[in-house]
C-alpha cells in the first residue's frame, strides 16, 4: 500500500503536476517543505527590520510611503508563507518559537546592517533581485500551496526591485555625496547578495534530494550565475562598479566569470556571528513577548463571545 502511494507521488512529481495538502507525501518531503517554507517566512519577517530601520528617517514623504508599503508587503509575504506551512500540518506559533529560540534559520543577508538610505535602494535592487532569482523557479515547485504563494510573492518582489533600482537611479542623478553613498552601499551588499544563493553546489547538502522532489529547480551555482549575468548590465546603466576584480565577460561560456564570496564570513554569519544576528532575534523576540498579553486577550475575548453565543 505504502509503495503504491509512494509510486503515485513519484509519478505526480515526475509529471510536473502539483502535490496538494490532502495528497499522500513522504515524511521527508513534508519535513523538507516545512523547513524551507518556514525559513522563507522567517526571512520575510526578520527582513522587515533592516529596511524598517529607515522608515522614520526616509528623506522624502514619497520615499517614506513607498518604504512603509514595502515593509508591509514583507509582513504579508510572511503571513502567506506561514499559512502555506499550516497546510502541511505546521503551526505558526510553534514556528515562531523555533525562530526566536534560534532553532530555525532565516536568510543570513538580514544580519548585515543598513547604514545609509542608499541601502534601501540596494536591498531592493540586489537583495530582492537575488531573492527573485531564487524564487521565480519556486513558482513551479511541486507543492501546490507553496507554488501559488510564490507567484504572488514574486510579483510583489519584482515591484520592490524596480522601486529600489528607481531610487538608486534618482540618487545617481543627484549630488556627488549621493553617488558616493550608492557606491559605498553596493560595495557592502554585493558579496552578501551572492551569498544568498547558498554555498557552492559542491558543499550544499540539501540540493540533490530537493531537486529530485522538484522542490528546488536549479542549483545554487546556476542561480548565482544567472544573477550575476542579469546584474552586470544593470550596474553599468546605473553607473556603479561591482567590487570584484575578477568580474568579466567570458565569450566562450556566454556568461560572466566572477570571484567567490568570502565563504568563511558566510559561515560565521550563519553561525550567529554577523553584525546584527543577535539584534534581529532580540527585536523579534521582544515584539513577540510584548504582544503576548494582546494575543491572550484576543483569545479570551473570542472564547467569551462563543460562550455567550454571540460569534
Amino acid at each position: 500500500m505504502a509503495d503504491e502511494l509512494e509510486l503515485a507521488f513519484e509519478r505526480t512529481v515526475q509529471a510536473e503536476a502539483r502535490i496538494e495538502p490532502r495528497d499522500w507525501m513522504p515524511d521527508g518531503y513534508r519535513k523538507t517543505l516545512i523547513r524551507q517554507i518556514a525559513q522563507h517566512a522567517h526571512s520575510e519577517i526578520i527582513g522587515m527590520q533592516p529596511e524598517g530601520n529607515w522608515i522614520s528617517r526616509a528623506p522624502s514623504l514619497r520615499r517614506k510611503a513607498i518604504l512603509l508599503a514595502k515593509v508591509q508587503d514583507e509582513a504579508g509575504h510572511g503571513l502567506y508563507l506561514y499559512s502555506a506551512t499550516e497546510t502541511l500540518g505546521a503551526d505558526r506559533a510553534d514556528l515562531t518559537d523555533k525562530l526566536i529560540e534560534g532553532r530555525q534559520k532565516y536568510s543570513s543577508i538580514f544580519n548585515y546592517p543598513t547604514l545609509t538610505f542608499a541601502d534601501v535602494g540596494v536591498i531592493g535592487w540586489l537583495v530582492d533581485g537575488a531573492a527573485i532569482c531564487n524564487q521565480v523557479p519556486l513558482c513551479r515547485t511541486s507543492y501546490g500551496p507553496y507554488a501559488r504563494a510564490m507567484i504572488r510573492v514574486c510579483k510583489e518582489e519584482s515591484f520592490h526591485q524596480r522601486q529600489g533600482y528607481e531610487l538608486l537611479m534618482t540618487m545617481m542623478r543627484g549630488t556627488q555625496a549621493q553617488r558616493d553613498m550608492v557606491q559605498d552601499s553596493v560595495n557592502r551588499w554585493w558579496w552578501p547578495s551572492l551569498m544568498m544563493f547558498g554555498p557552492p553546489d559542491s558543499e550544499s547538502s540539501n540540493t540533490e534530494q530537493s531537486m529530485a522532489w522538484r522542490i528546488k529547480r536549479n542549483t545554487n551555482d546556476e542561480l548565482r550565475q544567472k544573477f550575476v549575468d542579469m546584474t552586470v548590465p544593470q550596474a553599468e546603466k546605473l553607473g556603479v562598479t561591482l567590487p570584484d576584480p575578477l568580474l568579466k565577460w567570458n565569450e566562450e561560456r556566454g556568461h560572466h566569470d566572477f570571484g567567490q564570496p568570502d565563504w568563511d564570513e558566510f559561515w560565521q554569519v550563519v553561525k550567529g556571528n554577523g553584525v546584527c544576528n543577535e539584534q534581529r532575534l532580540a527585536h523579534r523576540r521582544k515584539a513577540h513577548e510584548d504582544g503576548a498579553w494582546v494575543r491572550e486577550a484576543a483569545e479570551a475575548y473570542a472564547a467569551k463571545q462563543v460562550k455567550e453565543g454571540v460569534a
Binding site: R62, A69, A75, L167, T170, D290, A300
Partner: protein
C-alpha cells in the same frame, strides 16, 4: 523604465493586484486648485498645516510599530493606517504649499518645531517606546480617529474644493481606523484582567490630551465656511466614545484642562518635549544633504 529581466512576464502591466498600486499617482485629479477669492489664503495655509501635521506626526508615531506589533496581521493593519494618514498629510501639506509656494517635502522636513501645528495627542509617545504599549496606542487611535472622522465628515462641505475633496477621500479611511481601534478597545477591555487594566491605563494616559482637540483657534474664525470649528465636534466625539467605553467596560477618565504656555498649545506651534526628538529623527537625513534629490 524598461527593465530587462526574466521576471517581467510575471509582473504584467496591471496595477490592480498591488495593495497600494504602483503609481502613487496624484489622487485629487480634476479638483480645481485655484484658491476661491472669498477665502483668506494665509489662514487656509495655516489650517491645512494644522490638519496635515496632525496626520503626518500621527503617521510617524504609528509607523514606529512596524515589525513590533503583537501579531503579523496587526503589523499590517497599523502600517495601513499609517500609510493612509501619510497620504492625507501629503495632500494637506501640498495644499498649504499652494499658498506658501513650497512643496510637501520642504514643509515636512525644513520647518522647525515651532512651525508645526499638530495637536499634542498626535506627537506623544504611546508605545512601542517607553511612553506606552499597544493599549495606549489603541486608546490614542480611538480618540484621534473618532475626532478626525467627525471633523472630516463636516469638512466635506468646505468652501475650499481641495479641502472638501481631501475630506471626501479620507472619510472611508478614517471610518476604518475608528472601527479598527474600537474593536480592539472592546476586545482588550473585555479580554483578560491584564488587558482590561492596560486598556484603561492607556485611556488614562491619553485623556489629558483630549481637551485640546476641541479648543477654538482664531484661524478657524477667519475661515467661515472653509474650516470646521473644533468646538463643534465635542458632542459627536463624546457620544461615540461613550458607546465604545460602554461596550468595552471602560471608564471615561475625568476631563482635564489643556495645559497652555502663555495661552498657546500645539496649534500655535508650542509642543511637548517629545516633539523635538521626533522631528530630529524624521528630518535629519533630508537636512544633512541639501540639494539632494530623492
Amino acid at each position: 523604465m524598461s527593465f530587462d529581466n526574466a521576471y517581467e512576464s510575471l509582473l504584467g502591466h496591471e496595477d490592480s493586484h498591488w495593495a497600494f498600486g504602483t503609481g502613487f499617482s496624484e489622487s485629487l485629479v480634476g479638483v480645481d486648485r485655484e484658491i476661491p477669492s472669498t477665502v483668506d489664503a494665509e489662514a487656509l495655509a495655516i489650517y491645512c498645516l494644522m490638519l496635515g501635521d496632525d496626520a503626518l506626526i500621527m503617521s510617524q508615531r504609528l509607523a514606529e510599530w512596524c515589525s513590533r506589533a503583537p501579531e503579523i496581521e496587526e503589523d499590517i493593519a497599523l502600517a495601513n493606517i499609517a500609510l493612509d494618514l501619510l497620504g492625507q498629510a501629503r495632500l494637506l501639506l501640498s495644499r498649504a504649499g499652494d499658498v506658501l509656494g513650497k512643496d510637501e517635502d520642504e514643509l515636512a522636513f525644513l520647518r522647525d518645531e515651532r512651525g508645526f501645528r499638530n495637536v499634542h495627542l498626535a506627537e506623544i509617545d504611546c508605545g512601542p517606546g517607553p511612553g506606552g504599549d499597544f493599549g495606549t496606542t489603541i486608546a490614542r487611535l480611538l480618540v484621534f480617529s473618532t475626532w478626525r472622522l467627525a471633523l472630516f465628515s463636516r469638512l466635506r462641505g468646505s468652501a475650499d474644493p481641495v479641502l472638501a475633496a481631501v475630506a471626501e477621500k479620507g472619510l472611508k479611511e478614517l471610518a476604518y481606523h475608528r472601527d479598527h481601534a474600537a474593536q480592539w478597545a472592546v476586545r482588550l477591555g473585555g479580554g483578560t484582567e491584564e488587558s482590561h487594566r492596560r486598556m484603561q491605563a492607556g485611556l488614562d494616559r491619553v485623556w489629558p490630551f483630549v481637551s485640546e482637540l476641541f479648543l477654538s483657534h482664531d484661524v478657524e474664525s477667519r475661515l467661515g465656511g472653509v474650516a470646521v470649528p473644533a468646538a463643534e465636534l465635542k458632542s459627536e466625539v463624546d457620544g461615540v466614545l461613550e458607546a465604545v467605553f460602554s461596550a468595552a467596560g471602560l471608564t471615561r477618565p475625568a476631563d482635564a484642562p489643556t495645559p497652555l504656555v502663555a495661552g498657546m498649545a500645539g496649534r500655535d506651534g508650542v509642543h511637548t518635549e517629545s516633539m523635538g526628538y521626533l522631528l530630529a529623527e524624521m528630518q535629519h537625513l533630508h537636512r544633512s544633504l541639501p540639494g539632494a534629490t530623492w
